[in-house]
Assembly symmetry: C2
Homo-oligomer: 324 residues x 2
């Protein structure tokens, strides 16, 4: 039984977890940042004083072995009235936090109800307000706000939490026990780094004997990683980790012209991450999804956030070759 930990976010994370779920004889743990403060999640945090449920919900759905209808239910978004805009799953997690008095405990119960394969663990039990300071002396607060800023224009000096945010003991245990830690796919500044800067993470990570797998994102994010090449992702991550990564997964298949065109509208030029890294740690392969995106009101994630994406089975297969 190999212990696998994933740190990531968004569609990329959903994809990698959905694929890994089907690999036998692994114990899978998804670590989830508590920095999210946008949309339904932000409203629930403000109104109810709960920790952010959105990312946890996505992980639970990815790892749930319950029926399709229950997984749909978790992503169902109310359209009208006082509940309008909220995903049912977010409300579910907020209510569980209220009833148990402990977000992490609530996530455990949700995992049981949803027949989740593996564990979903909040990286911290503290409220975590993400902040960024720029080279020009200015700064900004809030994950959702930072997500939509052009960080490259001002130049990032530091990403940090305003208040002290402590590593959850269960997250620490998972890192120390891990045989492999998969970093990504996901947004670097708002999904991956918010995990790495939690107090105690770096120490646990250094102690861990886990091999590090880095699936390189398929596309650059405008104003965050515009113009980045594979080598930039690797260097950036290694600088943050103060440790070399062991495996670098790079997709070799070109998306369709139509997909690239769609993407350019939102993300600008240099959408695709150029493969410039000549290194024996790189594992190349066709990792691209050919599934047509079904428009699904209930699953906004699949619908709008990504059209060029990893194929969950191909990615899982590639990872399985490394770990077995």
């Amino acid at each position: 039984m190999k212990n696998i930990v994933n740190i990531g976010g968004g569609t990329g994370r959903y994809t990698v977890l959905s694929g890994l779920k089907n690999i036998p004889n692994i114990s899978l743990t998804a670590l989830v940042t508590m920095a999210d403060d946008g949309g339904s999640t932000g409203v629930l945090m403000d109104e109810l004083g709960v920790l952010p449920p959105g990312d946890v919900r996505q992980c639970l759905v990815a790892l749930s072995e319950h029926s399709d209808v229950v997984r749909k239910l978790m992503n169902y978004r109310f359209e009208n009235g006082g509940l309008g805009g909220h995903n049912f799953g977010n409300i579910f997690l907020a209510a569980l936090e209220k009833v148990t008095g402990d977000f992490a405990k609530g996530v455990e119960i949700a995992s049981e109800i949803l027949k989740v394969k593996g564990k979903v663990i909040p990286i911290t039990k503290d409220r975590a307000k993400l902040s960024v300071s720029f080279l020009n002396g200015k700064s900004a607060e809030g994950e959702n706000r930072i997500d939509h800023m052009n960080l490259q224009k001002s130049g990032v000096d530091n990403i940090f939490y305003k208040d002290k945010v402590k590593l959850n003991e269960n997250a620490k245990r998972a890192i120390l026990k891990a045989d492999y830690i998969i970093l990504g796919p996901g947004d670097y500044f708002t999904s991956i780094i918010p995990n790495l800067i939690v107090n105690g993470f770096k120490e646990a990570f250094k102690k861990s004997k886990a091999k590090i797998i880095l699936p390189i994102n398929l596309t650059n994010k405008k104003g965050h990683t515009t113009h980045w090449k594979v080598s930039d992702y690797v260097k950036f991550m290694e600088k943050y980790l103060e440790k070399p990564v062991d495996f670098i997964l790079v997709n070799t298949e070109m998306p369709s012209k139509e997909q690239i065109k769609k993407y350019k509208i939102k993300e600008g030029d240099d959408v695709l991450v150029e493969d410039d890294f000549k290194d024996s740690r790189v594992i190349r392969g066709s990792l691209l999804s050919h599934a047509s995106i079904v428009s699904n009101k209930a699953d906004k994630l699949a619908d709008t956030r990504s059209f060029i994406r990893h194929d969950s089975e191909k990615l899982a297969e590639c990872i399985n070759k490394i770990i077995s």
Copy 2:
């Protein structure tokens, strides 16, 4: 395996189902009126166009064999923001109706998730607007409104649905297959009758060979059944059913003076139902609960609606003697 059907409402129903749940070798079905339109339920119906989830939620919680925390979750009431005033369980059922497109199907899935022993079946799949006409020619609409009216003052001419409301096929099957039908406990005009007046109910009921068990309510409801004695309840029900009942369960134990005093404030004099009925069908016994009501914010039902109530085990034991 005996097939038992219960028709009732509120705390009384919660009590009888909680007790019957523990009897082995019975197949239990709770039929639920769709006339409720008050509180959180009413808001969800108006804003989301769903069928009323409140009564179903109570039955599901009573029959759930899941952990205490999951049962607490279902009754948890949000206090703030856009979700304020809503029970989580109501939101859960509303979302399931939206995802499946069918309230009854949603209830089935909820039953599976909550490990419900038995079945909870909506009496109809139609929207059911309860109406009452009075002897003075006036009328009123809406279950919640009728619940709070003094019906005795004006004199009820008829209770009916404004639009045609058809018996759910699954409810019909349960009635036809039943060995015993338990009518009550519960409010007569707003919980029990709204089931009996659904189109097709009376025909199914007449065809059914089920023996009818009538647990007489412990207390009279102000303006609805003030001054009623056991014989009044029996006569009223038999007139509605056009069929004699087979077993009449009457409590013989007096509540404490303190309980009666508390009750009189809300319900006026003649709170207790006088036992005036000399008939061989009457089964008398101590059916009163001695459990102290724990104040529980999450479970408003237990907290405020009833202080004089049946003991679920005693009531179930009494019913078990009849059916075994």
